[in-house]
Symmetry: D2
């Protein structure tokens, strides 16, 4: 079978591989829709996860089941399913203590296009199908549903880690696709004022649609200063970091209240240290919690996120700025993510089959 | 001063009293808007809190400060403020363990029209002004802001006690004003499907506007059965009880999942026992949590709820179905709450002053 | 193979069965030590889980692995292991939302001697071995380790559900083996005063050893009254129910503070309703949480409980009042649990093999 | 009145001041026992809180009430009371959102010997007496009870922030008085293995008595490496930092599991940044939470901690290695804390009066 792969650091291209084998708990799918993700760019062009050879890319997909293992109970060939980016081992010790996404070790649940072939292929393999897949709800657009693979759960997880509650003021740093979902997720947790940091017009417009009340342009001065000014020196209750780099925390910590939470869902691809300013951190005693984590996944979670879309609480159509059709368009979609033209939010590729 | 009072169980009427005295931490306010509440009806006509003599009624108000105690730091005469229905003692042991609403004992933070004169008067007294008042935000309609005194915090607290999270299915029993706010509060916590139980057309329409996806008419059969049918026997994750009586829990428990929460914010005025069916409760081991609680209050909370309104996340204008003007209209507004005509949601009375 | 079974409601006896088959994820074990449990008595003599035919009894065991499925990675033949009473399906939706013990439905993780043959046999089957077994730590006595199967996790779970924290006063109703572990578990969560309700001298002595500061004899008057007297009408923060029946909650609720938690880990075998007194429950608004749940299990949990024993935080030797040797003694051990002589806490049976 | 004060950075000495005035909610006390704290040394000799002039030192005390304000309800002249180091304003917004210790701003509840005269004086002032004092339990030694002012709540708070649960392995960095209480507090939350980092023989012996199972000498190599070796590369669930400096987190983070918590209760007196290694922090996605906070206080908390001592769960007598009598011994006690002789844990000064 054919797949679009990372040949090595800095190089992408087509590969031809054997179709993946299906274990007793697994499923083999073909794609109905896939989306390209910035992580793929980090992986290929920055070598963020290290060297890889001929590893098929992609981890956001809706697919159709072509084969199931003999122990799979709840899915069958022909089912249309949402495939989360993260596919944990559910019997692992990490899953048992509530961190399935780290099954087998830190980030261990992230398999597609990390240490296993991804979804940019004619076929791909899903481990523990019963636990990791969710049926695509009747009538849901597969292209939109790809946002349930990674963008929605990652953005929403930033909100969960920040424990946003009714009426709290939230700062969302970065309003790319993940940040936009953090804005929407904050509104869907009843936040009060939501400050979004970003400049790209498409993103700014969508952030406002999703509930941002204030947009901050980092080019207008230090973010924390702008927030303090806008809040009459009160600061914000919570900060969600969905963009930036290892220095972002030190750039925003000055505007958080004691007892606040800074939650990171941004993959930090380079830099030696995240530096937390001692004084702004209350000399270690200010109850400013700093945390960050990979999105949770699993069928339960995925069904619940689909439930939010099905019931009209969130409209992700505005996220899909660039649409393509067919396997052959994968290189172009991915390259778009690399070039990041101003108007891009997410590129999505749909597939149709004659059979 | 003049106030509209419970003369004794079963009887209301005007009373003339001394203006309340202002202690060092307190404030004296005059009303700008007040709303009548079903609890006042329970109190007067069912004797739900026991006998009272000439106790002024009312506990939902926006007011203007006429006097402040010498230890009050953050408020001054002339400030327009939201007054929560519950006004705790913030130094109490209960407040220190997170249950300020029970300061001094169960429900002890509920003072207005319970064991202290309420807000249906020319003047009323607020204890611990710095801790219990919140400034009326610039431009907010006082009539609408009365919903922050009790209806929003009570309905939302049902959602908090139920720990509603992203994509969960929620059943809200009762869609009167508190239940409507429980529906809105569930949507503002990212619930998936929201089932509202009720029949009155005004309430049904508003429930849908606030995010209810399904309306259940209890006249069409047992609630739990209807829910199981609508969910393909899956049941709901959470149940919020905002109406009914001591038998309501036993009527709905059959449709909750193991690990679910039943949260009550309905004042249970009569009946000896809340009966929990042993088997439906998983023979005591099904992790179905049953809880219920009085709304939390305080300045922080009140500011946060106001923040939700100010930022356009919730529109309560539809709640105010009946509007009156001036002290003299209080009897009529209260009687409306007693008669409960079909189209009533909340009656509100506004006040204007020449000075 | 031979096993000691429930022949039907009211009758026990030996059965001869095929050795259990081992699926790809499973293990087959032989017993090294097993303990008898009151639930077995409920099951056989009260028909608490309904009719069963020739179902082998027993669910508390330490064993030796005789066979493993081909997908088992972390265990091998010859390993000595602790087998929890509850053996969930870890990929289930219930497990993914934190309630693995209810995988497949309420109490669904409870399989041994419920809807599958138990451990009172020459061989028994364990599903999802990697996720459900834990290695017996070097040097740990297998007889003592059987307390990790059910008594420790059940008693401790009562404490967890009650969210006992530093310095809180706790009432433990029932100081049989589960209640004793609730007492020990409360002390191991830093409780202040611990009131144990019971009368049997062995249990009273062990309760004190485990940290009970006060023993209440229910024969001396209503429990709640005694607690109120002992606490100068302050009451307790938390109540753990480890004995009694459907009326126990109504007998103790009068001595809990607003904001308190009543947690049940007692299998409620009969009665139609658990009755919660309306007024004592704060007319539904007193923040008295009522909850109850089956013990959590899994390898992670089991290893952690073993860790507590290995590090000398808890000594369960006093629990094992009656010791037997060999398969043939199972009827006597179980009958002891039925007769419940005054000095009994737990009967345990150990096994030795020539090979 | 006479008090022992910080004259300026680097200099201590006696001062003569007016007796403090008592506001309506306040109390004036004289000391029965006080203890010296490392923070006093940081304050005086490192200028950790900035310049201060003639500020009386000390914040750990048991006292006798000499005067109460007219609004104080629960205490009277002659009462013997425990005075927490932190005395919040309970009506503040911070208190209302659960962070009373930061009332008025970060660390704002820390008043004694920070921005108000401390307890090393003939008399001292306590704000909000009803909310901030706790009665010294009958029969409790005042010298031992001074450990409830700061050492116990600070050490235990490290455990609370780390959310230590049954059977978890915990690393406690620093086993001075706070670290010792973090060890004891971990055992009192049911931890499994507890690793204590330290070298001083007195502290090592007491750490073992309090429940440390392993002692790590940082001179024997990097702490994280030692932990990984001792745990077969499994690492620990939680890390509590009760000593060290801004570099400590980066020295230990390598031995924490994904989903772990690092909690700091060590005042970080100098250094620009706390540096968190990007990779060890799971590239920002490993769910390693980093937090730190000032001890919670208040009457409820203080009573609960006293409850732990009264019921024999914790014996702090071993902490009081150096005992003095009378006001005149304060300089010597404090200087001991400055010199930190090898055998020192805590110096305590008791007071007796003729009246």
């Amino acid at each position: 079978m054919r797949g679009f792969a990372m040949k090595k650091i800095g190089e992408v291209g087509w590969v031809e591989k054997e179709a993946p084998a299906c274990g007793p708990l697994d499923a083999i799918c073909r794609p109905l829709a896939v989306a390209a993700c910035t992580s793929d760019i980090h992986t290929v062009y920055e070598g963020a996860v290290g060297e890889r050879t001929d590893m098929i890319l992609g981890h956001e997909a809706v697919g159709e089941i072509m084969e199931v293992g003999e122990l799979v109970k709840d899915f069958k060939v022909g089912d249309k399913v949402i495939i989360p980016a993260i596919t944990p081992d559910w019997g692992s010790l990490e899953a048992q203590r509530g961190f399935a996404q780290h099954s087998g070790g830190t980030l261990g649940g992230w398999k597609f296009s990390n240490f296993k072939d991804g979804v940019f292929a004619e076929l791909f393999h899903v481990n523990e199908a019963d636990a990791n897949l969710a049926l695509l709800p009747e009538g849901m657009d597969p292209a939109e549903a790809t946002m349930i693979s990674d963008m929605i759960p990652t953005g929403f997880h930033g909100v969960e880690l920040a424990e946003v509650t009714y009426g709290e003021d939230v700062l969302v740093v970065g309003i790319g696709p993940v940040g936009l979902m953090a804005v929407a997720g904050s509104a869907l947790r009843g936040a009060g004022r939501i400050f979004g940091v970003g400049t790209r017009p498409n993103c700014v417009a969508l952030a406002k649609e999703y509930g941002a009340t204030d947009i901050i342009n980092y080019k207008d001065g230090p973010i924390a200063e702008q927030v303090m000014k806008l809040t009459d020196n009160k600061g914000v209750d919570k900060i969600i970091i969905a963009g930036g780099d290892v220095d972002t925390i030190s750039n925003v910590i000055d505007c958080i209240i004691p007892g606040g939470i800074i939650s990171n869902v941004n993959y930090l691809g380079s830099g030696e240290y995240v530096k937390v300013p001692r004084e702004a951190w209350g000399v270690g005693m200010g109850h400013v919690r700093i945390t960050g984590g990979l999105m949770p996944a699993g069928r339960m979670r995925t069904e619940r996120l689909a439930n939010i879309l099905s019931n009209g609480r969130l409209d992700v159509s505005g996220m899909l700025t660039h649409k393509f059709e067919g396997l052959e368009s994968l290189p172009e979609a991915l390259e778009l993510m690399n070039q990041k033209p101003k108007e891009l939010i997410k590129p999505v590729v749909t597939f149709s089959y004659d059979d």
